[in-house]
Amino acid sequence: MKLHEYISKRIFADYGIPIPEGKVAKSPHEAKQIAEEIGGQSIVKSQVLVGGRGKAGGIRLAETPAEAQKFAQEILGMEIKGLPVRKVLVDRAVQIQDELYLGVTNDRAARKPVMMASAEGGVNIEEVAERSPEKIIQCHIDPVMGIQNYQARDLAAGIDLSRELWRSFGKITHGLWEAYVENDATLAEINPLVVTADQKLLAVDGKMVIDDNALFRHPDLEELRDLDLEADSEIEARKHGLSYIKLDGDIGCMVNGAGLAMTTMDIIKLFGGEPANFLDIGGGASAEKVTAALNIILTDQNVKAVLFNIFGGITRCDLVAQGILDALQEVDTDVPMIVRLVGTNAREGRELLKKAEMKTADTLAEAAKMAVAAAKG
């Protein structure tokens, strides 16, 4: 789960990382008030969970509170990369001398967290990594011991940080590490970490991504989830414990298991079709769950056929079959359905479906071919 800049920075501040004075506003009037409190120049920043806000005009430097209000007015009406701007952060403007990068994330190959620093902050760090990887200093951290002082110094030395700033940089690395660990982040980064004209370090922009699997430990963060990020259908799916992603094709898929769901998409494509979605109904799918899933699939107007591919392991095929039949009672549709059931109680499931005159397939390839044909009408 991605956190907004203003939330990430607030968390950083809780861990002793210096951030610019500032507050979040939902209206131009609020933005003006905040700018007045701050005094002097301020930065009005759109709070949306995508990169490239600056280029899109979503970050503006205001000379006066009145200008802050004006910019907030403009920005709060914008959409950036398809996402509506609902909040702006109004921060005190700072005199920037240098822009650094500092981040911590999981290195899955090393099975350890890695902290990264670069003297080239303020830009997309992936681009720096590609263009000149030697400019990113990496330091693996023992997940149990945590970051050590010498590691912070190695990073500081690696990016040629002025020695007067080492102590402050050390505190920031420790704070960022703790923010990462204690919030179960998979990413915590400061970009840019600014060296101000008066020789101080300041986290001017911040980003955190929280491990969805660990949200049970952070109910306060879960509440901050930005639903704008997801299509309504994806939100609806999550409510029912389904994993759904909308795609651009015309063959709806309902599958149990993520790997098999991807495989089903692949095979549809292999036989000339286009999948309309990824949908994993998970284990032990009940009739209610199947109904919800079918409803979600069919809200997509592009869908011209639906392929059910259920491999019964934990999931019992007869229950799934009953779920499909029950769902069809509730859902009014003439989209053709192709069902493939294999595994636990598959025979019973197929019996039920045959009675209801549903199209069934034995193999995955056959099912895919039937779905492609059905979608082409």
Partner: protein
Amino acid sequence: MSILVDKDTRLLVQGITGHEGLFHTEKMVSYGTNVVSGVTPGKGGEWVLNGKIPVFDSVKIARKATGANTSVIFVPARFAEDAILEAADAGIETIVCITEGVPVQDMMRVRYYLDQRNVRLVGPNCPGVLTPGEAKVGIIPGHIAEAGHIGVVSRSGTLTYEVLYALMNQNIGVSTCVGIGGDPINGTNFIDTLRMFEEDPQTNKIVLIGEIGGTDEEEAAKYISTHITKPVAAFVAGRTAPPGKRMGHAGAIVQGGTGLAEDKIKALKNAHVRVAQHPEEIPSRLTI
């Protein structure tokens, strides 16, 4: 012969009194797996499956009382770290963690702890290990595989069943099927399993089932070209998955240029692995 689990497996079920634990314990027992005991803290002294299997308060006590050498974990995600550490500390040799949704930082700590010890973890977020005719440890349906000489290793769940089913339909038997799980940080990876299959006299050929995300398949390909003499067939799921979207498995995120299915397929082909276009093609890739 086979790998990881067999007739000598003495299985302990952690979380045996839970809904999932109990359901699958019955399936494992029916299959013929030697389930010797279960653990649910606070329920020591009870029995499950009509008095067939004793429940203990801790793995340590259960192991002492029943000589368990292998453990399968069905506890909820928030308790998985503790359950794995408990099993390792009690001297269990092979731990299979079925639980999905374990936080990644928990798994980093688990890896730190296990790396100091001589213990094998399979999973988490995996369907478990099946040695047809000998032992079923986890949730892989027993009736979709026959004993034979193909070693199967997979990051996926139901997709694995699909492959097993396709093999069975062609009368191809399996030595052991290992579901290593789809999480970014897990206990056993492709290379660990490939090494075991290479050393296992019962295994003649190997099937590897990968998916998008990470670089495990690429590393496996490197290992195959230098260490594996047995023929390998493979399938990689996710060629049509859009980059950056989360596909259910935490591991299946395409990150910054790596993790794409096409790259994995290319690496495997370069290692002379026979890559199938869909799972039902796997049997033919093994026989031709």
